[in-house]
Amino acid sequence: MNNKLKVLRAMRNWSQAELADRLDVSRQAVNAIETGKYDPSLPLAFKLARLFEMPIEEIFDDGHEGNDDD
């Protein structure tokens, strides 16, 4: 799953370790999410959304376009 985590982190001038501390996860976890090797759990995704003050779907992109009601 694609995400904007690296960009959002860079905009705040945070290192991976700083972001990891704010999320209370390991630096490896942040790196794995940024590089798309690991999709976070829903609780962690919500934590990210609260930290960056954005909706989850603005941070993560599952590649699905259009309305799910279609």
Binding site: S15, D21, D24, Q28, A29, P43
Partner: protein
């Protein structure tokens, strides 16, 4: 900001619990291994005595069994209460890979042995094989 980056950050409670769990687990293994090694100075290759099948004294065997069971259980509780999302994911897949390794190898070896096509199954070899797969998969998923 640069100063903030260079400052050593204090450990979060989660990281403290995590580190404690890992250190305790290492200590449990080290204590059992060291006592076993000291008990057999002339008989075992250093570091491999844990995997041997030479007789042990009942006192030591009881102590080691209790230390392993209780000590490891405590360490695992601490570990699972402190791992993050990503590591838990790595741990679960590594555990599954280890279980599959055991599931594929143990019955295979056992039926071959019953037909006299293989020596008797070695429990420690099966355990170490599954553990090795567990460690490799865990390291790969956590640090790749």
């Amino acid at each position: 900001m640069t100063e903030t980056r260079n400052m050593k950050r204090p450990m979060s409670p989660r990281r403290k619990r995590y580190t404690t769990g890992i250190i305790l687990a290492l200590l449990v293994g080290a204590v059992i291994g060291a006592v076993m090694q000291l008990g057999e100075p002339s008989n075992g290759t250093a570091g491999l005595v844990l995997l041997g099948d030479t007789p042990l004294t009942p006192g030591f065997a009881t102590g080691a069994a209790i230390l392993w069971t209780v000590g490891l259980a405590v360490c695992l509780v601490i570990y699972h209460r402190s791992v993050d999302d990503h590591e838990e994911h790595a741990y679960l897949w590594a555990g599954l890979a280890a279980w599959y390794t055991f599931t594929l190898s143990a019955p295979t070896w056992w039926v071959l042995h019953r037909a006299s096509l293989a020596p008797a199954p070695d429990v420690m070899l099966l355990f170490v094989g599954a553990l090795a797969v567990n460690v490799v998969v865990w390291l790969w998923l956590k640090y790749r």
